[in-house]
């Protein structure tokens, strides 16, 4: 007991040091990427190379210019670009979050059902896999038009598209995770004469959590991509997808707007990912050696 009590402050010091280390690595990698971008730009412009593409302020603006663009008015006398993109990001975040929630729930339930019924697994899995090989740009217009006829709000239709990209990794990892339970732990449950339902909730689901969260990390970022792509066929101007289409049309005039939008979209994806990581830390209790 005393040994463990003594270890606590030291563990905290280690955690703080590790935190600082991670921060340093993040800054270092950011600097490296910035250096690569600017170095590439500088070299290609100086040598006048045109392969694989011509490098100039249109194709590769300065990174600092892109960041500065965020704080310029988006239109004459209009709000700052960052204000505009902030609202777009919030809108897309809503679609992605709802889509993620729908997709994760459907994916999980599907995984549980497939894990319990072998015949369904054999019968349905090929179609589930097939559903993911159909490009989202082919599905999106159908979903948008189809659900539109039921008077479902446009943003919710986009959320369904995001869900479509979200559920698959969750289903696959749920299946795998539910089967990952220690066979001895299953025997133990057997010795308690536990019902299938109890085994599911007390053993299989908790055992599957690490797998589930791996899937959530993939799905969380996929749901952002799904939401952005889904906005295009819905012609929704309020989100990041709308902003991308808009700025794409004026790329020749002002390329930095599109780059800045991409930057914001990337940040949104990272935010979703980190949100999952934080929830995982709070929910999954396991030996520290598992936490990468």
């Amino acid at each position: 007991m005393s040994a463990i009590a003594l270890e606590r402050p030291r563990a905290r010091a280690v955690a703080v040091r590790r935190g600082i280390g991670r921060g340093a690595v993040f800054v270092l990698v950011a600097l490296l990427l910035w250096g690569l971008w600017e170095g590439y730009r500088w070299l290609w412009i100086r040598e006048g190379w045109t392969k694989p593409f011509l490098v100039d302020d249109t194709s590769m603006p300065h990174l600092h210019a892109i960041v500065r663009q965020l704080f310029e008015p988006a239109r004459v006398n209009g709000p700052l670009l960052i204000t505009l993109l902030w609202h777009s990001a919030l809108f897309t975040a809503k679609e992605a979050a709802v889509g993620f929630a729908i997709g994760a729930s459907v994916g999980f339930v599907l995984g549980v059902v497939l894990a319990h019924f072998r015949i369904l697994q054999r019968g349905l899995l090929p179609y589930i896999v097939a559903s993911q090989t159909i490009p989202i740009i082919a599905i999106a217009p159908m979903v948008v038009v189809g659900l539109g006829s039921y008077n479902i709000a446009a943003w919710l239709r986009v959320a369904v598209i995001a869900a479509y990209l979200t559920f698959f990794p969750v289903t696959v990892n749920t299946l795998r995770g539910l089967q990952s339970a220690d066979p001895r732990a299953l025997e133990l449950m057997h010795s308690y004469a536990a019902s299938r339902w109890k085994i599911l909730w007390k053993l299989r689901v908790p055992s599957s959590l690490p797998y589930l969260f791996s899937a959530f990390k993939v799905s969380a970022t996929a749901s952002v991509v799904g939401a952005i792509i889904g906005e295009a066929p819905s012609s929704i101007p309020n989100g990041l997808g709308g902003a991308i289409i808009n700025f794409n049309q004026y790329y020749a005039l002002e390329p930095k707007n599109l780059w800045a939008t991409n930057l914001v979209a990337a940040c949104l994806g990272i935010f979703f990912f980190l949100a999952v990581v934080v929830v995982e830390r709070l929910v999954v209790r396991r030996a520290p050696e598992h936490n990468a």
Binding site: E187, H190, S191, R286
Partner: protein
């Protein structure tokens, strides 16, 4: 009435190609501590798992408390301890111990009281809130024992529970197990491949032969109770260890004898 009664039991695997157990007859009385010992692959763990209705015998009959093994399992008549502790790493010590109680639908207050008793029984006070990975192997196994005993089963099935522990820890837990056994008065069926452990703990040692596993002899251990660390130095202890060793040797269990040479 016997707690465990095994009649003419045989078990084969692979559609009869491998015979693991053959013609086993054994009665275990209430309050006994019976060890099963034999070479690797002699089916001693298989026998234990058949008693626990984890696997089914090919032929023969097992009754536990006068019921079929299956009925006894459904009535939660036994607790089981494996070689690995099989704790749920997402649960604290207290929550691991109360797992079977949750399964059986005990209310929160009753569970908390029983967990407290169990924690005291295995001397893990102040560790209730720890997670399994924060404990040593010996402590984890004590949690596993507390979990198996938490619902006061009439029978405790133990499958080489201390096999993965170092010698010092093993000897300490041997003493602790005997104290617990005396305290709660349950019946224990214990699988081991350590001769000295079997003799030290048991009231009877059942020696199994190499595959197919048959009962090669039963040694009654008449060492006085309660047993203490001094028991291991009792000349009678050595006589009994020798007797078990000779029976094993006669049964063709050279493997165990090699291991015994290091004890």
């Amino acid at each position: 009435m016997s707690v465990v009664s095994i009649r003419n039991l045989s078990k084969s695997f692979g559609g009869g190609r491998v015979t693991a157990l053959q013609g086993i007859n054994l009665e275990v009385e209430r309050g006994e501590f019976v060890s099963l010992i034999g070479p690797s692959g002699c089916g001693k763990s298989t026998l234990l798992r058949i008693v626990g209705d984890i696997i089914e015998p090919t032929s023969g009959e097992v009754t536990v408390n006068g019921k079929t093994a299956r009925r006894a399992r459904l009535d939660r008549d036994y607790g089981i301890v494996f070689q690995s502790p099989v704790l749920y790493e997402w649960r604290t010590v207290a929550k691991n111990i109360s797992l079977p109680l949750e399964m059986f639908g005990w209310d929160r207050g009753r569970r908390a009281r029983r967990v407290e008793e169990m924690v005291r029984l295995v001397e893990l006070e102040t560790f209730e809130g720890h997670h399994p990975w924060q404990l040593s192997g010996g402590m984890q196994q004590r949690v596993s024992i507390a979990r198996a005993l938490s619902f006061e089963p009439a029978l405790l099935l133990m499958d080489e529970p201390f096999g993965a522990l170092d010698e010092m820890t093993r000897e300490r837990l041997n003493l602790e197990l005997l104290r617990i056994w005396a305290e709660i008065g349950s019946t224990i069926l214990f699988v081991t491949h350590s001769i000295s452990e079997a003799v030290f703990l048991s009231t009877r040692v059942v020696v199994l032969s190499a595959r197919p596993g048959r009962i090669a002899g039963i040694v009654s251990v008449d060492l006085p109770q309660p047993r203490t660390a001094a028991t291991r130095e009792d000349p009678r202890f050595f006589e009994l260890v020798t007797e078990v060793r000779e029976r094993l040797h006669a049964a063709g269990a050279d493997e165990v004898l090699e291991e015994a040479a290091f004890e």
